[in-house]
């Protein structure tokens, strides 16, 4: 395996682990903590906030697991790209509106990252995810997708 392929696989797995950790931490913690984070971004009505709190951690968890395992990669990478882009937009609007948010709340209690830094972090993730989508053949080494493709 070429070094470029190794890097693509490593990046895919690292992004997957980030998503798994982020989603899992929110899911096993009281959901009210994540609700508070969502409320602080002042996005919309209460039912939308409640729905976000229920859905997003599961989406993060499964996108992360599928990325690590390399299952349904083209679809999962695109969904991850949309998810990361939506995170960037949500944090950016909070920064523009100067909402009093000290930390993004993205990783629950595990990591405390200020909104400005998380925008940079998420933008990096977005660029990397874009590259993974473009070079999906290299990304899919050491993946279940490749395994199933080779076994057909």
């Amino acid at each position: 395996m070429k070094i470029a392929e190794k890097i693509f696989v490593a990046v895919r797995i690292i992004i997957g682990i980030f998503l798994v950790v982020s989603g899992y931490e929110k899911l096993i913690s009281p959901l009210q903590n994540f609700l508070y984070v969502v409320q602080s971004y002042e996005l919309g009505n209460a039912s939308l906030e409640a729905l976000t709190v229920q859905v997003i951690p599961w989406v993060e968890l499964f996108l992360g697991i599928f990325l690590v395992l390399g299952l349904w990669l083209p679809l999962v990478l695109r969904c991850s790209w949309v998810l990361v882009l939506s995170f960037i937009l949500i944090v950016a609007q909070a920064l523009v509106r100067k909402l009093p948010i000290d930390e993004c709340g993205c990783f629950g209690e595990l990591l405390h990252i200020p909104p400005k830094i998380i925008v940079v972090f998420d933008t990096t993730l977005l660029i990397l995810t874009t590259l993974l989508i473009i070079f999906v053949q290299k990304t899919s080494r050491f993946s279940l997708d490749r395994y199933y493709l080779n076994r057909k």
């Binding site: 009210q32 903590n33 609700l35 409320q39 499964f62 009093p100 279940l144 076994r151």
Partner: protein, 255 residues
């Protein structure tokens, strides 16, 4: 497995891609529920060993709030004022326990404010100190050294200066505060203000207000801050405001 199957099955995976997907989903869901069970199990064990906190209101009230606050957090100040308004309006219907959760990495005076409040508690003047800290938070929050203002507050509410100094120097004071914070963490508290309304966790004032309004309706008229020089009574004997509506007295406790 037969020889024929071995030869043909060597190139075929044992489960289909959809089957693998379903397996991953099932394992993922199970791991989350297992994690939740473990966390909840530990949490329940620890919460049963809860420490006695500063309290006001009617201990037999059907609406009990345990609040974890940081005196330097603006939302906590707002939340405390909301609770104060409701307690003033429904003194026999609400019981409030206050616990410290100083976020020292974000707020440099958070721990010191808790120490002053805790020392005031030792002299049975916790609530006057609490109210003073909350009401003037926007002022001392911006000071280079908030301690001068804390001392002024202590003087105004009539704390014994020598006892206060001894208490502030006592390592036990800080220990009590930090153990309360640790207890909060073990309950799942991550940020302030966090409330437990009849045992149900609510984080932030929006959720608190929703709980209060669901139970009591909107508060009728905000009360001015209570700056008292006497000790706060843990159980108010008589309502300070208008009598409570009968339908509220008949409302069952929410769990």
């Amino acid at each position: 497995m037969s020889k024929k199957n071995k030869n043909s099955g060597a190139c075929k995976p044992k489960i289909s891609k959809l089957g693998a997907t379903a397996l991953v989903v099932i394992l993922g869901v199970l791991s989350v529920y297992a994690g939740r069970f473990i966390v909840k199990h530990n949490r329940e064990k620890i919460s049963a060993q809860g420490e006695k906190a500063r309290a006001k209101g009617n201990p037999r009230a059907d609406f009990k709030i345990v609040e974890y606050i940081d005196f330097q957090c603006p939302a906590c100040a707002k939340g405390s004022k909301i609770i104060r308004d409701y307690v003033a309006q429904y003194p026999t219907r609400i019981y409030v326990e206050m616990k410290y959760f100083p976020l020292s990495q974000m707020h440099k005076f958070a721990l010191l404010a808790c120490q002053y409040a805790q020392c005031a508690a030792r002299q049975d003047k916790f609530w006057p100190m609490h109210d003073a800290l909350i009401d003037d938070q926007s002022i001392w929050d911006r000071m280079l050294n908030a301690e001068t203002m804390f001392r002024e507050m202590a003087g105004k509410i009539g704390l014994d200066k020598a006892a206060l100094d001894a208490c502030l120097a006592d390592k036990e004071t800080e220990k009590v505060i930090l153990s309360m914070k640790e207890h909060g963490k073990s309950l799942g508290v991550q940020s302030t203000p966090t409330y437990f309304v009849n045992g149900k966790m609510s984080v932030g004032i929006k959720s608190l207000q929703a709980e209060l309004e669901k139970y009591f309706g909107p508060v009728k008229s905000p009360t001015p801050p209570v700056v008292s020089t006497t000790a706060a009574s843990p159980v108010p004997s008589t309502p300070k405001s208008a009598p409570e509506p009968l339908h509220l007295l008949q409302t069952p406790a929410r769990q």
